[in-house]
């Protein structure tokens, strides 16, 4: 039996509004962004109301309190992913986290820099945020971008892993859970293959950290990125985690105040990690909001959340199995799979599917999900994607199944 999490829905003020057609909101788009509990909204507001000041700079009490709030947020977020707080860098988003890495690896002054002839490995199911930065890095440095393929069942094809991850491989950048398929990638095998050849592993944890317990030490990866807004936290904040001995070797990606050790007109030296990666007055209120979000999730318990989403996913897959017009894109079983379900409806374009669902108050994502290469590989113009979080329930699943039935009726689909 999974824990009953329905009591938590009331913590999210957005569910008190109604949407199209006067319907209550059924939010199945948490893969894009999650909703926020009131405690997170209040944490941000309280920062502004009671201790707003520029951190690390002022001699006054507010600046002290702001610095303390910001650094406590860092410690708290670090604890949430099993990291040391000096290894946690606050960025604006996972996109920025991944770009920071690609930029730093591209700087010849970095202690670990990508060189011509090096290989950077991604997969065919990466989000653009974990593909484009590496494409650009390869282009800038003369390195080669290669990738692991996917199987027809929406899993990673590991049959040629030892060819793809080879002695030329410098970096393996890979998603933890696919934002299209929901597939959870066997990171242990990836780490093993990378270690064998001395390559570094960068994990895009955007779709994992919000949904199940993630511990950087246990995973054994070298870097990890995720976004605050998908983990019940504010927009405008992301995390980049890296092993400190590696972060120390990287040049910063952006430059400005609060990240220097000394500056002259001719040059500068950098402060220590994590400070050297946080140029400028940081996103303080958002860090404090993110900290409140991970507190909230910790209270609920990540294993409970994972179980809850597992159950809903199972129900949805079972329901879709009964509908001959619906094809699920991605794993059909529950092994190594999270609460993201992509599907197509015969003869109806995803955009039209989404529109009909919207009419019933159901919010889903439609399109290529920022994974165009994957869509092309699958020969699809896009999919409709339902994704879960804590505030969803079995009723949401039934409502979705019923509404998809209406879609097929509305567009007079018959198979």
């Amino acid at each position: 039996m999974s824990a009953d999490l329905s009591v938590y829905k009331k913590d999210f003020p957005i569910f008190s509004r109604s949407v199209r057609g006067g319907n209550p909101l059924i939010y199945l788009d948490s893969g894009a962004t999650s909703q926020k509990p009131e405690v997170v909204i209040q944490a941000e507001a309280d920062f502004y109301r009671t201790k707003n000041a520029a951190v690390h700079r002022g001699a006054h009490l507010l600046a002290e309190e702001a610095s303390d709030a910001y650094e406590s947020a860092r410690e708290n977020v670090a604890r949430f992913i099993g990291a040391a707080s000096s290894e946690v860098i606050f960025t604006k988003s996972a996109t920025e986290s991944l770009n920071f890495l690609a930029t730093s690896f591209g700087n010849p002054d970095s202690g670990i820099a990508v060189k011509p002839g090096d290989e950077i490995v991604v997969t065919e199911m990466e989000h653009h945020a974990n593909l484009s930065p590496w494409q650009q890095l390869a282009k800038r440095t003369g390195a080669k971008l290669t990738w692991l393929s996917i199987t027809a069942g929406g899993r990673l094809d590991l049959s040629n892993i030892d060819q793809v991850i080879n002695s030329k491989t410098k970096i393996v950048a890979i998603t933890h859970q696919s934002n299209v398929f929901g597939t959870v990638v066997p990171i242990d095998l990836i780490v093993k293959a990378a270690r064998n050849v001395g390559a570094l592993v960068v994990l895009d944890a955007c779709q994992s950290v919000p949904h199940f317990a993630v511990n950087v030490k246990q995973l054994g990866v070298d870097f990890l990125a995720f976004s605050g807004h998908k983990v019940l936290g504010p927009t405008g904040i992301g995390v980049l985690w890296g092993k400190s001995e590696l972060l120390e070797k990287l040049e910063p990606a952006i430059f400005g105040g609060s990240m220097v050790d000394s500056v002259t007109m001719d040059g500068a030296t950098w402060a220590q990690t994590p400070r050297k990666f946080e140029a400028g007055v940081p996103n303080m209120a958002q860090a404090v909001g993110l900290s409140a979000a991970v507190d909230y999730l910790t209270k609920i318990g990540m294993p409970n959340l994972a179980q809850h989403e597992h159950k809903l996913t199972e129900e949805l897959l079972a329901g879709f199995k009964e509908m001959k017009e619906v094809t699920v894109v991605g794993p059909l079983d529950m092994k190594d799979r999270g609460g993201v379900v992509s599907f197509t409806v015969d003869g109806v374009h995803p955009h039209d599917v989404g529109q009909v669902l919207d009419q019933y108050g159901i919010a889903v994502r439609t399109g290529h999900h920022c994974a165009w290469p994957l869509m092309k590989k699958l020969n699809l113009v896009g999919t409709t994607r339902a994704s879960f979080h804590l505030y969803n329930s079995s009723e949401d699943v039934s409502s979705l199944l019923k509404a998809v039935e209406k879609v097929t009726q509305y567009f007079k689909v018959s198979k």
């Binding site: 374009h349 439609t366 399109g367 567009f411």
Partner: protein, 144 residues
Amino acid sequence: MELDSLYQEVILDHYRTPLNKGLSSEKDIQVHHNNPSCGDEVTLNLTMKDGFVKQITWDGVGCSISMASTSVMSDLLSGKEYQQAMKVLEAFVELMQSKGQSKGDEELLEDGVAFAGVSKFPARIKCALLGWMAFKDASTQVMA
């Protein structure tokens, strides 16, 4: 239902049985337009003659709105004098921006008025305009 104002029967008909779909072998110009946020794509072949739109053919993948609208456009503008085609295009764009406040000029837009409801759905306006913008691009290039 509000949905019916979006998916008029005319639209679904054009979607199921599109006009001028399939690219002609001859053309003055070919353009390719897409809508990166949803992935809809249209390739359009245009032939102009003596300042008149002689032929519009197209191919594409996309939602019902984008495909039906391209179908309607190709039918409506074929045979029209360039300036007149532009006038129709402007009327269609205006209709799309009307936020549900306009019914559209049926004399000018014919089947195009079926898209009046789209203007109430901001996310779909770009779908309805995809083929029209491809025509605008192509014809402007030919006439330049």
